[in-house]
Symmetry: C3
Subunit: 278 residues, 3 copies
């Protein structure tokens, strides 16, 4: 029951989201991922399904050259270790030097001091976007000191909105909070995305995968990180909705969702994308 | 063609297995996994499908804090290396300090002296449950010195029963042997589980995944490791049976099995669980 | 519109390919894989679907013993690091000592000097087969100095044929170039394989998986590496074709392809294998 104004807004978001997806498919941006071991398969397949080109490259010895040929960088601290953190920092610094966008997924931040500190050091290197669940964003923002329940959120996105805005202002990053409604903010504007189905949470690393997708979208629209993040979240959520129509559980949802992402067409995007300025 | 007595026994096992699954779904235990790279995706998705919350965390720097928030720990030596073994030991010691259950999957033990020695060192740290195939359990028990064929069993579970009982007595662990009939023993009692389909062996890391599931089940029923291990094996096997009805090969079995695990209901569990005291 | 001569040739190739697959299923060769993290799940599942037995083992501490029980070795530099390269070299040397075949997948070679140098060092250890996409083979052969686009090819296989032949002559390895038509050469003879569908490129690590399959096929037919490589490429491509008939996108293709590989029968192999001497 959206008002006329919202519908108009939604239509223009849909047009832009579709255009952004076409651009990803056409340009096939190379996304370098330094990510956790659990997420590698679904992240690579998500990028491929969207038309991007994934490359999991973490050796410090080749970052200088490799980050130079990549179009964007995705850093995810899920299965972090001191060696991998060093690779992440090296790549982030290199991406900054070359003016390439990079995104950060602060998986499980708050679960240990080591994890939180490394995460804050990475944020100090200025990612274009930070995407996490409500608990992760609140932990990064210092809005909660309760240890999280592993990598799953114990907070809802509305709880995290103020924390996300504060964090965005303080860090000059776009902050995206995933949840039933995803929120994306630059500290002033807030976009809400209500695509997706809750069963996606029963598939490991869907959050990680969408962060990589954000990296792909930002790289083809460098001036618009706020909108790009919202588009990636909305299109991935929409793929989940379409996949859900055929799914009989989380594993078939994973499959049909990736198929749907690959097959997304203009009609589906125009009629079903749900983005609104909040 | 089970006798009346067995059927009665089976019904009460089914009731308990169902109750245990409900408890996992309700409590959503956080299971920390230090596991091989091959298994991470299916292990995380198996835990999520069952209602648990997986977290793959191996950095020594955060084990002290992370194991403290976990409800159980799953250690799997598949792609072991000295660094990861150090993490495994650190986590096992920490779990013991905190009185949290941990389970061990001795993948490929016997294939090298290094692997066997590290495995025995881990067993000396007293896991609640050791789960392996017949060849692995026999190698751990010293009942065979023939090198295994990689990670696949060359022995049958009945061959391994005496070895499993001896191992359980000597180590004070529950020992579970996977196979056509799974055997679970504390050295005195033996439970047999005959759920599952042989095609599951053509999916990588199903054994690893069920070990993680055992960790989840033990954490919600800490006093009953023998039964919890049997329940996890039976329910995972049942999910495989249900998945098999739709499958056209190992890859679709993997998908439908995880869907079935997520959707398991009381009727299926009561009518199809096959557990018997042997 | 193949000529009579080609058809006859094709029939005898099909007979041999089928025989080779039967041999893999019967002997279940143990294939040790030191491979990138992204590929581990699909590689292990591909080997299992074909009837082989995968083992991902990389610790230097156990290579001496483990490579001794393996039937073949697959080395893939995708997510390389100095430590893993050391394992790869140690295993390659050990395989050579024991006269066991090993294959090399030079993922992303050319993307950094570090990667290229390590790759050339591995080639100096004389793999039985090198399999890559056109860009990778051209980079290895020194036929291009343009940096690749990550791990995806920017060249076509016909472009790479001369480079492949030169490389095969210089290194005394079989060189296989994957593409719309796969080319396999020993420097003199060239076999072309035209099975497969292009959507397979939208699934991560299909190239890695087929390299592991080549290792399995070579190990059961040690005297015929050229033909074995062609059979593995053709059968994997055929599985992709059969899977494609049911697929609705890349993720379902991945599933149905592995199911089809597991279920491949004589009729399909005889009627649909497309191998020709070029």
């Amino acid at each position: 029951m959206a008002s006329f104004r919202e519908l108009r807004g939604n239509e223009s978001w849909a047009a832009e989201a579709w255009k952004a997806l076409c651009k990803v498919r056409e340009m096939a941006p190379l996304v370098q991922c330094i990510t956790n071991f659990v997420s590698m398969d679904i992240m690579a397949n998500t990028l491929l399904a969207a038309g991007a080109s994934p490359a999991m490259v973490h050796a410090v010895e080749e970052i200088s050259e490799f980050t130079a040929i990549a179009n964007a960088l995705c850093i995810n601290i899920g299965t972090l270790s001191p060696e991998w953190i060093f690779s992440m920092k090296t790549a982030a610094v290199r991406a900054n030097e070359l003016n390439k966008p990079w995104v950060l997924d602060p998986v499980g931040v708050g679960a240990s001091r080591f994890r939180t500190e490394r995460c804050l050091e990475l944020i100090a290197l200025r990612p274009a976007v930070i995407r996490g669940n409500a608990s992760e964003i609140m932990a990064v923002a210092g809005a909660t000191t309760a240890p999280p329940k592993g990598v799953d959120s114990i907070h809802n996105t509305p709880d995290a909105l103020e924390a996300a805005k504060e964090l965005a202002k303080k860090t000059h990053c776009i902050v995206a909070v995933s949840g039933a409604v995803d929120l994306v903010t630059d500290g002033k504007r807030v976009l809400g995305v209500s695509n997706g189905v809750s069963l996606m949470q029963r598939i490991t690393a869907t959050g990680c995968a969408v962060t990589a997708l954000i990296a792909a979208f930002i790289s083809v629209n460098p001036g618009r990180p706020l909108e790009s993040a919202a588009f990636a979240l909305a299109l991935f959520g929409l793929a989940g909705e379409i996949g859900y129509e055929k799914a009989s559980g989380p594993a078939s949802l994973r499959m049909y969702m990736l198929d749907a992402l690959h097959g997304l067409d203009e009609a589906a995007v125009y009629s079903r994308i749900r983005i609104a300025q909040i």
